[in-house]
């Protein structure tokens, strides 16, 4: 931590107030359009699979493809330069500019050139560098950095751009509307492009077999930059190489849809430079275009800058499959509220930004913003190349934890934190990562533990030492756990149709015991024999703190505790969606494939299981029916990623409840995130979106139900009326 927690909280507060509103409106708009666009695309999953395969193959064969590309580019009459790092690339580009006696370089949008800081390098040589993408130009004029991978000025409103132009240019008739601002920019930039000596572009994809690059744009400035000056320098990362032009179509069909929800952008330049187009001198009114020469120079500058090392890194390698669409930013609740100036590093932002910054700049840079990824997984299903973005964030967090020197007062909690982590781990992460141990102690000593924890001195100490925000209510531990309660009762089922193990997750077992009891009553009412054995916690808590080794230990223990039940033909029913998501997604990384698959196949979310029982003919009569009872339901983020929201809605509707659902990506609590004093205000700001949806005239009188522990805690903090798990609605008394 280079900044104190208080400084960081203040910076987040400032960005939420200044840049938050524009970012929220724009990212949510992109996100909605993306959802609609991919829903219309019938071969969407096929395209994602194909895109993934192409990237896996290309990165695997990268050294060979670089050589093939070099041959193609040279055969076409261009030059390929492979730059080891930013300094190397900048040196080469400066030499090209110098050879051309360039006074001005015009650029189209390229995040890779942002990574290099090539503008500064050229400006040091006295070259005028002009960004011609309108958003990028705004950022250049304002001396800011891009706040989003594809929409660099997404943090600025129309008014703030108008103010900026007025301040800088002091025009007689200041432009105000979007039309006027665009014309104003086009005119000024048109003049700059007309007289430029070198045009610099990025490239979204480069085909090794022909040397063709695809540049995906909407404005037309990349086209102008590439063909108006006689010299074209294209700068791109080595990972952009694909084997063939035949491989381009899945990416082109996915890129715009994933980013902004357009089917295709206005222009995809498929350039195989140097191009045949005649050189342009707009003062020439004598020579027809067909008689002008097409004497052009072309330089493809391929950037390594850490990428070849990422390729060798089993965990970071996947980052290289990223096609920079920005989907993981747009679908991220935290990003929607703070943008890339908080949730971003030197160049790259959003969830995948962690992978890029860790690989290119190093862990220190990634550590500055990695905590904004809460692992909610809402970006996972929309990633066009199926990158497990939350996992990359977890891996980087784990490395940050291990790489840093210990700080704080570890001895205070050493006994409470029996984890497998190194001593460098931050105290707050260690505390939240070992929540199971705390919960056991909390229940054993309840209600005294609750009284003590809630006293002012205790809250003060928790905030000072472990960063637990004093404005949050702490979980109230129950003296009698679900497992204890269950042991003391007799089953009500005599002739069971099925047998299940109800997984006693830490929260259900120690805090929200009532939802556990409701689940038992519901399942038994449907003729199922239920067992509630003592099973270790899933590892979700340590995983979310980046404590991978500890999470893996949990995975082995949980599997050990459940395997015999699974072998005995029992299904595993899980109440807490984040724990089911562990079984379903992360255990693949910790357990032998066959074990992970076996557990995965037999595990169900509780309402999903009820849905299955009812579909298979179970009698719903014993359940509490809705009688048109109005309900407002918020599904858990990870539950929605697993495609399990609809089951709860269907069960409730079939039982006669009238259900309105939220459509926010996440409640903002995200496990421990909302407890941390650095992030408390952001968490509440994100939560406000959900609170608003449940406070409209249509929803404000509805009974609130939510599936996740975090969501329930957050809703309790946000709304005056109580909330509960849907199984508590339908459970018989």
């Amino acid at each position: 931590m280079s900044k104190g927690r208080g400084d960081k909280a203040a910076e987040i507060r400032r960005l939420m107030a200044t840049e938050g509103p524009a970012i929220e409106e724009n990212t949510k708009g992109f996100n909605r359009k993306r959802q609609a666009a991919v829903a219309d695309l019938e071969n969407y999953e096929e395209l994602r699979t194909r895109a993934r395969e192409i990237k896996e193959d290309a990165i695997e064969r990268l050294p060979e493809l670089i050589e093939q590309l070099r041959e193609s580019v040279e055969a076409n009459g261009g030059t390929l330069y492979l730059a080891d790092d930013a300094a190397d690339a900048n040196q080469y580009i400066r030499e090209v500019a110098d050879d051309e006696d360039a006074e001005r370089v015009v650029k189209s949008k390229s995040m890779t050139t942002e990574e290099l800081d090539v503008n500064d390098a050229l400006e040091d040589d006295g070259v005028d560098v002009v960004e011609t993408d309108l958003g990028e130009w705004v950022v250049q004029l304002a001396d800011e950095t891009p706040s989003h991978l594809i929409a660099p000025a997404i943090h600025r409103s129309q008014e703030s751009i108008a103010d900026l132009f007025e301040t800088i240019f002091d025009p007689d008739d200041p432009p105000e509307t979007a039309d006027e601002l665009t014309s104003f920019a086009r005119e000024r930039l048109g003049e700059r492009i007309r007289d430029a000596d070198v045009g610099m572009t990025g490239a979204n994809f480069v085909a090794a077999d022909s040397g063709t690059m695809a540049i995906v744009t909407s404005e037309g400035n990349a086209r102008k930059c590439a063909v108006t000056p006689d010299t074209h320098v294209a700068v791109t990362g080595v990972e952009k190489i694909v084997p063939s032009t035949d491989d381009l179509s899945p990416f082109l069909e996915l890129l715009a849809r994933s980013g902004t929800g357009q089917d295709l952008t206005a222009y995809v330049s498929l350039l195989t430079p140097p191009v045949d187009s005649p050189t342009l001198d707009f003062d020439d009114d004598e020579t027809p275009l067909s008689e002008r020469d097409s004497d052009r120079d072309f330089h493809l500058v391929l950037i390594d800058n850490g990428r070849m090392a990422m390729r060798e890194d089993e965990q970071l390698r996947e980052t290289l499959y990223c096609i920079r669409c920005g989907q993981c930013s747009n679908s991220c609740a935290n990003f929607q509220h703070v943008g890339g100036h908080a949730f971003g590093g030197e160049t790259y932002s959003g969830g995948i930004g962690t992978g890029w910054e860790a690989g290119i700049e190093g862990l220190d840079t990634a550590a500055e913003f990695n905590d904004f990824c809460t692992g909610c997984s809402r970006c996972v299903n929309g990633c066009p190349t199926k990158i497990d973005i939350p996992w990359i964030n977890t891996v980087v967090r784990d490395r940050i934890n291990r790489g840093e020197e210990p700080e704080g007062t570890d001895f205070l909690v050493e006994g409470l934190t029996p984890d497998a982590e190194s001593s460098g781990l931050d105290l707050d992460k260690r505390l939240f990562g070992n929540f199971e141990t705390l919960a056991k102690l909390g229940s054993a000593t309840a209600p005294v533990s609750n009284w003590l924890a809630d006293t002012a001195p205790a809250r003060w100490a928790l905030e000072r030492v472990a960063g637990v925000d004093a404005r949050r209510d702490l979980p109230e531990f129950q003296r009698e756990t679900l497992v204890d309660w269950f042991e003391r009762r007799a089953s009500t089922v005599s002739d069971p149709t099925r047998e299940v193990v109800l997984y006693p997750d830490v929260y259900t077992n120690h805090v929200q015991v009532e939802r556990g009891k409701a689940a038992v009553r519901t399942l038994e009412a449907l003729g199922v024999d239920v067992r509630v054995p003592s099973v270790p916690s899933s590892g979700r808590a340590p995983l979310s703190q980046g404590m991978i080794a500890t999470a893996e230990e949990h995975a082995h223990d949980v599997y050990g505790a459940l395997a015999e039940h699974v072998d005995a033909g029992r299904d595993v029913v899980v109440i807490e969606p984040s724990d089911l998501a562990m079984f379903d997604r992360e255990y693949e990384r910790f357990l032998p494939a066959a074990s992970a698959e076996r557990l995965q196949e037999r595990s169900y979310e509780v309402m999903e299981y009820v849905y299955g029982l009812l579909e298979n003919g179970a009698d719903a009569d014993p359940l509490r029916s809705g009688d048109s009872h109005d309900v407002a339901y918020h599904a858990h983020c990870q539950q929605r990623t697993l495609g399990l929201e609809a089951h709860t809605v269907t069960v409730l509707e079939d039982l006669g409840y009238d259900v309105a659902t939220s459509d926010v990506e996440c409640c903002g609590m995200a496990g421990s995130f909302g407890y941390k004093d650095t992030y408390y205000e952001l968490s509440m700001d994100v939560g406000e979106d959900l609170a608003e949806q449940f406070s409209t005239p249509e929803t404000r009188d509805r009974t609130v139900v939510a599936s996740g522990t975090s969501c329930l805690e957050q809703l309790d903090a946000l709304l005056a009326r109580p909330s509960r798990h849907p199984v508590e609605l339908i459970a018989p008394p």
Partner: protein, 169 residues
């Protein structure tokens, strides 16, 4: 959207309509008269590889200065992509790329028989020419656009309007 089971031409028409791109269908004989009614003066064009004549209102093979003054640029499209309403605009030595880019109205001319059902097929054909002849092309889908100034504006750096003229044979 993804696959075209119906006639590619009607799919192409629908897609252009959705993009706000005008479409005028004509024959080789009627081409000059049709184009004359479509262009905004002053208009320039590059030679067309089809058996058609340009109207007098279009200056063929302009100088760079004439291109800069032009309000319309007419260029050939080598093929269309039905489901996206896209046109493949080849970059040629007679300047099809700048002529399709600089004027405020772009008029791509395409033969009806060159409208292909989908992007993979169009890229297959393009790929052959890229590998064999180092060909370049622009896949153009609607007019130039930006949302960087707060809302969607057409005509950012490129043409604000596109009007496709299709030759029925």
């Amino acid at each position: 959207m993804a696959t075209t089971t119906t006639n590619p031409l009607s799919t192409f028409e629908d897609a252009l309509d959705e993009l706000g791109v005008a479409l005028t269908r004509t024959t080789t004989d009627e081409f000059a008269a049709t184009l004359d009614g479509v262009v905004r003066a002053p208009a320039v064009g590059t030679p067309l590889p089809f058996d058609v004549a340009y109207p007098d209102s279009v200056a063929v093979d302009p100088t760079p200065a004439a291109l800069e003054r032009a309000a319309t640029g007419v260029t050939p499209a080598s093929f269309g992509v039905a489901n996206y309403g896209s046109v493949f605009l080849p970059s040629t030595a007679d300047g099809a790329e700048p002529v399709s880019l600089y004027p405020e109205l772009h008029v791509p001319v395409i033969r009806a028989g060159d409208v292909l059902p989908d992007l993979p097929e169009a890229l297959d054909r393009f790929g052959e020419t890229a590998r064999a002849d180092a060909a370049s092309a622009i896949v153009g889908t609607g007019p130039s656009a930006t949302a960087d100034m707060g809302e969607l504006v057409l005509g950012a750096h490129g043409p604000e309007a596109v009007h496709v003229v299709m030759l029925d044979e």
